[in-house]
Structures are given as structure tokens and as C-alpha cells.
């Protein structure tokens, strides 16, 4: 197409767009800009869709594979099973131990839910102190707290194990829950501090004049304003705790106390042929709580994790 024809085509396109109520372009140059914007938008969507597919396909494949036989799993990378066989779910749920996955899921929740509660309570209080109070050593303590975030988790495992062994807490859930009650999840404290710093102090001053002491201020004013950030803490802690493998591996010896993460590993036995269909099926089931929590809270989670929290 010649340049003149191209330009007239683009001007017509601009005129059509104008008829539809979009911004009109009266010059050829304006029409070019509009046309390119439309094309760019579809290109962006296509690129994002392709990247999303690449990232999500293993998960999608997992769901498809949970309906396949062992042989089909290893022979086909495609999503669609030759026939939809749900028996893997039933067999995987029953497991080859004396306990079903109901027990293991219950154990996971017995660890996760108390841990979330103590994490939220302790991290909110510590973040409130750092963000709103002036006390001797505040900056030093905050720096130390941030510094501990740099420590690799594996460095802490051995000393913590020795401490809990001395206390007599091995083979119990306490080593997995109690440290979080002391705000040792410094990432959450840091996130809450940053969120708090974005909240104007006017409301707190108004609440002080209304008669709030520090605790009432925290409960009536700060916590409701922190809701998006607290939901983020809940979501992150839920997902991380449900997925935690090393902690339960080190501290739990009794099979009846195993959470889902250990039970999944147990189903991949070293001495017998692995029923991969069962393992994959139960892996899909194990993902459901985390995915459900994420999607239920995503509106608040995004706001809490990214916004500065300016309100009012």
C-alpha cells in the first residue's frame, strides 16, 4: 500500500473511532498514533497471555495429570487425559499409611491457624511500637530486626533445634508455632511498619483527644486501618506454613502428627514403585487451601502488600 493510501486508511480509521465517541484525530499524524495504540494493546495482551501460559502450564498439567494413569503421565506432556479417571484422588486420600489425608490436613491446620493468630498479634504490636513510639534504642533494635531478615533460615535451624531439645518440645507443634508469637517473622513486622508509616497521625491524635489510651488506640483505630496489611500477613503466613517442609521434618517424629507437606513426601516412597497419579492427585488437593485463601483475599492482599496505606 502506498504512503498516501496508508494515511487515508488511517484517517478513515480515526474517523470511525471518532464516530464511536473516542478521541478524534483530524490529522494523519493523529490517526497514526491511535492505530498504533490499539495494535500495541493487543500485542501486550498476547505477550502477557503467553508468559502467563508458560508460568501456569505446569500447574495446569498437574491437574490434568491427576486424572491420568502412571504410564500416560510419563508418555504425554499434553494436558488432556485420554479418560477422566478420578480413582487417583480416592487412593491418594487413603494413603498407604494407617492415616488418611484428613488427618494430615487437620495437622496442617493445627499448625497453621494458631501460627497465623500469634503472628498477627505479635507482629502488629511490635510494628505499632516501632512506628509510633519513641523509646531508647528504637533505631538500634529496628536495625537489628532488619539485619535478622538477612540471615539464611538454615543457619538458625541447628541452634533452634538444640534449644527446643533442651526444653523438651521435640515431636510437638510448639517449635513451629511459639517462635512466631515473639514476632520473629521480621518480614511481616517490616511490612506492617511501612504500612503504618503511611497512615496519617491525625486520626490517632483525634482518638487520643477522644480518650483513647495506647491499647484502645491500637484496637479501635490502628487495627481497622491496618486491615489490608493484616490480611496480607494472614495470606502469606498461611501459604508459607502450609508449604513448610523443613520445620516439620526437623521437629516431628510421629507420623500421626505429620502435616500435608511431610505426608506428601512420604507418599513418594524410596523402596517401592511410586503411584505418581495418586501423588499428583493429592498434591492438587494440597494446593486447594492456599489457592482458595489467596483468591478470597486477593483484593485486600494486593492493597496491603503494595500501597502506602494513606487513608483519611
Amino acid at each position: 500500500m502506498s504512503g498516501a493510501h496508508a494515511r487515508s486508511g488511517q484517517v478513515k480509521e480515526a474517523a470511525n473511532m471518532s464516530n464511536k465517541g473516542e478521541v478524534s484525530a483530524t490529522t494523519g499524524h493523529g490517526a497514526l498514533v491511535l492505530g498504533r495504540d490499539q495494535g500495541n494493546r493487543w500485542l501486550r495482551y498476547a505477550a502477557l497471555g503467553a508468559v502467563a501460559l508458560v508460568m501456569l502450564y505446569p500447574l495446569l498439567w498437574l491437574v490434568g495429570a491427576s486424572f491420568k494413569t502412571n504410564a500416560e503421565i510419563f508418555s504425554s506432556a499434553g494436558f488432556w487425559p485420554s479418560r477422566w479417571d478420578v480413582s487417583a484422588y480416592a487412593k491418594g486420600w487413603k494413603t498407604s499409611t494407617e492415616y488418611t489425608f484428613a488427618t494430615y490436613f487437620l495437622n496442617s491446620f493445627l499448625i497453621t491457624l494458631p501460627r497465623i493468630v500469634v503472628t498477627v498479634v505479635s507482629c502488629v504490636m511490635v510494628a505499632y511500637a516501632f512506628a509510633r513510639f519513641e523509646f531508647w534504642g528504637r533505631k538500634l533494635l529496628f536495625s537489628i530486626m532488619i539485619a535478622t531478615m538477612m540471615l539464611p533460615l538454615i543457619v538458625l535451624r541447628l541452634p533452634q533445634y538444640l534449644v527446643f531439645r533442651e526444653i523438651g518440645w521435640l515431636d510437638s507443634y510448639l517449635p513451629l508455632i511459639v517462635p512466631s508469637a515473639f514476632a520473629t517473622d521480621t518480614f511481616f513486622v517490616f511490612m506492617l511498619v511501612q504500612f503504618l508509616r503511611g497512615i496519617p497521625r491525625d486520626m490517632e491524635e483525634a482518638a487520643q483527644i477522644d480518650g483513647c489510651n495506647a491499647w484502645q488506640l491500637l484496637w479501635h483505630i490502628i487495627v481497622p486501618l491496618l486491615k489490608p496489611a493484616i490480611i496480607s500477613v494472614v495470606v502469606f503466613q498461611f501459604i508459607w506454613t502450609m508449604n513448610d517442609f523443613m520445620g516439620p521434618l526437623i521437629y516431628l517424629a510421629s507420623v500421626e502428627k505429620y502435616p500435608v507437606s511431610l505426608a506428601l513426601k512420604m507418599s513418594i516412597g524410596a523402596t517401592e514403585e511410586v503411584e505418581w497419579g495418586n501423588v499428583i492427585a493429592i498434591s492438587v488437593v494440597a494446593l486447594i487451601p492456599s489457592v482458595a485463601v489467596f483468591f478470597a483475599a486477593q483484593k485486600h492482599f494486593i492493597e496491603g502488600a503494595t500501597s502506602s496505606g494513606v487513608k483519611g
Partner: protein
């Protein structure tokens, strides 16, 4: 009784910066006192010290019969309205108003009565079920005021409450707040009010007395009229009044007929009664002074009883305000502003920038300030 008194009150920050320098002030029971001054003059700091949100480094603050320096805000009997309203976004308007009373364990019936009374007073009964984000600026400000009223404090504190509103709404709220103060006082409720603003129009129209602050020091405390007619120093003179007073370097000279002010090469005679007060000044510091002339005391025609002194000027530009015209002129090297009623502005028609004209200065209304200290001479 809801008197408030500040006695040698000071505020020094940990880094050594002294924000408030020995403030002494008495606010009468039921009075509407305005703190006004430019940004950084410590008017908000002083208000926050009264509220208990900032500590008092030295001096004494008394509310009623009590010294309240070490008391928490809730124990001082104060209520505060913030510039940004500071409403609780997660509570409805009703709960915003009721929050302080709930904390004080007010019986539910009494709480409801007081909330609804405040809502009626401020014409916002229809807003009680809304959240703050559903309110306009003016409505939010009324809720903030209502939250103060329900507490029945001894002293109301307002921290630039109208700054965030548009000009028209600000004017309407000024009237509403003034009327509210009168209503509370007339119904024998405590109504002592301290109102902080940087807007001198708000100060002049709302205050029964105005405290002008600069750099943490009180410049003058007086009625609006007295501040306007007898400013204590050049700062107050230039801060109060719009357009600003013309403050011009001049020299007092004694002549055979009396005192004159030499301004940009022109001699302006001072009326006899002014001259008698200033007799010794021409011999002090070479007689240098600051001459203050309010824009409305510069006219295009001489006054009939003869205290107008002519000033040769050149036009810079005019601002037409509808009912009056602001005339900006050069007088020698000096720039001056005159305020001419529109009906007297006919001589200005056809004048261009740089054209010559004569202004007449009403010397009976002029102000004289010390050239170094800025203090009023007469």
C-alpha cells in the same frame, strides 16, 4: 468557668530549636480567640501544646482552675477540630460522633441524645449513616465540628479547619462557625474557643480578639479593629489588612511649620496632633522611619478638610475587583498600592502603564514605625 491562661510557656525541641518563646496569654471564658501568623510562627505548635499533643518545655498552662501541663489530652477538657478532619474512616458518622462518649462510658440514652443534638445543630442528621468517604469536604468538616461539640469541652481548639475547603464554602463555614459559637455561648454552654489560621480574613471576621504570632513570639493581642487601626509594629501592620499596608522607608524632618515625612523626594506634612507626639524623633537616628499607609488612605482626589498630601506617581497596573480597583503605582523607586472605590475610579479610564497620576495620602491615618525595630512610634 473555662478560662485559659498561658504563663511564660516555652517549647524547645530535643535538637535545641526553640519554637515558642515565653508566651503569656489570657483567654477569657467564652471568648473566640484567633491565633494568626505566617507559616512557621508556631501557632499550631502552641495549639497542640494546649491540646496536650506536644509537651510544654517551660511555663504553665491553666484551663479553668487547673494547671494541666502534665495532664493527658482527654483529661484537659478540650476538644479539637483538625485541618484534615481526622474522621475515623471505618466508622459511620454516628459512630464518629459517639466514639469519645463511648470511651467515657456515657449511658446509651444520653449518648444518643447528645449525638443527635449536635447533628441537629449542624444540620447533618441525614448524614449519620454515611461513612466519611461518602461526605463532601464541607460535610466532613461539620462532622469534625460535631465530634467536638458532643464532648461538651471547656475549650474548643480549631487547627486551620477551613484550609482544605474552596473559597465559597470557606466563607459559608466561617459564618456557620461564628453563629455556632454564639449559639453555644447564648445557651450557657462552655464556648471558649482558640482558632488557628494563617488567613487574616478569617481572623478578622471571626475573632473577638486576635493573637498575632511571629517566630514563636506574640506580636500583639487585641480586637480586630484595634489591630487594624493601631498595629503594634510593622509586622502586624503588614500582616493584617488586604491589600497589605504600604510600608515605605522615609525620614522625619522638622520644619518651621511642623513635622514632615520625606518620602521618595516628596515632603508630606504631618497633621499637628501627630507632630506633637513625634517631636523628638527627627534628631534620633537621622529621623529614619518606616511610613505605613493603608491602600484605602491613598485617594485619587484630595480630601475636603485638607490633610491629604499629594504624591506624584506612575501607573504600573490595575486590578479590578468589581466594587473597587487596586491601583499599583511607582512613586520614585518605591512601589505602592491604592484601593479606590469603583465609583471614584473614573479618572483611571484611558490610563496606560507608565502614565503619570497624582495620589493623595491621608496623613492623619498614616502609621510610623521605627526603621530598625519595626515598633510603632505613633
Amino acid at each position: 468557668m473555662a478560662r485559659l491562661s498561658l504563663s511564660k510557656v516555652e517549647k524547645t525541641y530535643p535538637n535545641g530549636f526553640k519554637a515558642v518563646h515565653g508566651v503569656d496569654l489570657d483567654v477569657r471564658d467564652g471568648e473566640f480567640m484567633v491565633f494568626v501568623g505566617p507559616s512557621g510562627c508556631a501557632k499550631s505548635t502552641l495549639l497542640r501544646m494546649i491540646a496536650g499533643l506536644e509537651s510544654i518545655t517551660a511555663g504553665e498552662l491553666r484551663i479553668g482552675d487547673r494547671t494541666v501541663n502534665s495532664l493527658a489530652p482527654k483529661e484537659r477538657g478540650i476538644a479539637m477540630v483538625f485541618q484534615n478532619y481526622a474522621l475515623y474512616p471505618h466508622m459511620k458518622v454516628y459512630d464518629n460522633l459517639a466514639f469519645g462518649l463511648k470511651l467515657a462510658r456515657t449511658p446509651p440514652a444520653e449518648l444518643d441524645r447528645r449525638v443527635r443534638h449536635a447533628a441537629r445543630l449542624l444540620e447533618m442528621e441525614h448524614l449519620l449513616d454515611r461513612y466519611p468517604k461518602q461526605l463532601s469536604g464541607g460535610q466532613a468538616q461539620r462532622v469534625a465540628v460535631g465530634r467536638a461539640i458532643v464532648k461538651k469541652p471547656e475549650v474548643f481548639l480549631f487547627d486551620e479547619p477551613l484550609s482544605n475547603l474552596d473559597a465559597k464554602l470557606r466563607a459559608a463555614m466561617r459564618v456557620r462557625l461564628t453563629e455556632l459559637h454564639r449559639t453555644l455561648r447564648d445557651s450557657d454552654q462552655p464556648a471558649t474557643t482558640i482558632y488557628v489560621t494563617h488567613d487574616q480574613v478569617e481572623a478578622m471576621t471571626m475573632g473577638e480578639r486576635i493573637c498575632v504570632l511571629k517566630d514563636g513570639v506574640i506580636q500583639q493581642v487585641d480586637t480586630p479593629t484595634a489591630l487594624y487601626e493601631r498595629p503594634a509594629n510593622a509586622f502586624v501592620a503588614s500582616f493584617i489588612g488586604s491589600p497589605e499596608m504600604n510600608l515605605l522607608p522615609a525620614r522625619l524632618e522638622a520644619t518651621d511649620t511642623g513635622l514632615t515625612v520625606l518620602l521618595a523626594g516628596t515632603r508630606l506634612r504631618l497633621p499637628g496632633e501627630r507632630a506633637s507626639v513625634l517631636a523628638g524623633l527627627p534628631h534620633r537616628a537621622g529621623g529614619t522611619v518606616q511610613l505605613g499607609l493603608r491602600p484605602e488612605h491613598l485617594t485619587l482626589s484630595a480630601r475636603p478638610h485638607g490633610d491629604s498630601e499629594p504624591l506624584a506617581a506612575r501607573l504600573r497596573f490595575t486590578e479590578h475587583m468589581g466594587s473597587e480597583v487596586y491601583l499599583h503605582v511607582d512613586v520614585g523607586d518605591l512601589v505602592m498600592t491604592a484601593r479606590i472605590p469603583a465609583e471614584q475610579a473614573l479618572p483611571l479610564q484611558g490610563l496606560q502603564r507608565g502614565d503619570a497620576l497624582t495620589l493623595h495620602a491621608q496623613m492623619a491615618a498614616c502609621h510610623l514605625f521605627d526603621a530598625e525595630t519595626g515598633l510603632r512610634l505613633a
